[in-house]
Symmetry: C2
DNA sequence: GATGAATACGAATTCAAC
DNA sequence: GTTGAATTCGTATTCATC
C-alpha cells in the first residue's frame, strides 16, 4: 500500500498546488488512500519532498530528490 | 540590516547543518544579528529556502532557488 | 515494518509598534 | 517596509497497536 500511496503523492504534488499535509491527506482520500497526517509526514520524509515558496507567494510541496546535489 | 542578515543566512546554511529556525537564530546571534524566529521565517520565505532530508536521515535547511525549475 | 492518535515541537502569520 | 511577541497552525515524533 505504501508504494502505491507514495506514487500517488508524487503525482499529486506535481499536478496540483498542495500546501499542507492535511490537504494532501484529503486529496489522497479521494483516490482511495485513507491515511493520516502522521503517515504523510513520514512519506514526505522518505520521498524527500520539501515545502517551497512559489513565485506567486504561496507555499507548495515539491520534490527535492532532483539532480540538484546542492540540496543534499 | 536585512540584506546583510540574509546573506549571512545563506552562508550559514551552506556551511553548517542547520535544522531549525531557532538554531539559525542562535547562530546568527553569534555574528551579531539578533533576531527572532518570526523574522527568520520571513527571510526563509523570501530566500526560498527549504527544509530537506539529508541522506543521513536528518533535516537541514537548504536553498531551493536553484536552477531546478521543477521546484517552481 | 507500517500506521494512527495524541503530543511536542517547529514554523507561518497576526497584530501592533516602530 | 521591517521587526518582535504572541498566537495559530502545520508537522515531526512518540508511543502503542497491528
Amino acid at each position: 500500500m505504501k508504494f502505491q500511496r507514495q506514487s500517488k503523492i508524487l503525482e499529486l504534488i506535481e499536478k496540483e498546488q498542495i500546501d499542507t499535509q492535511e490537504d494532501l491527506s484529503r486529496r489522497l482520500k479521494e483516490w482511495g488512500f485513507s491515511t493520516t497526517q502522521a503517515t504523510i509526514s513520514r512519506d514526505i520524509k522518505e520521498l524527500r519532498l520539501v515545502k517551497v515558496m512559489t513565485p506567486d507567494g504561496t507555499y507548495k510541496y515539491a520534490s527535492a530528490a532532483s539532480e540538484n546535489e546542492a540540496l543534499a
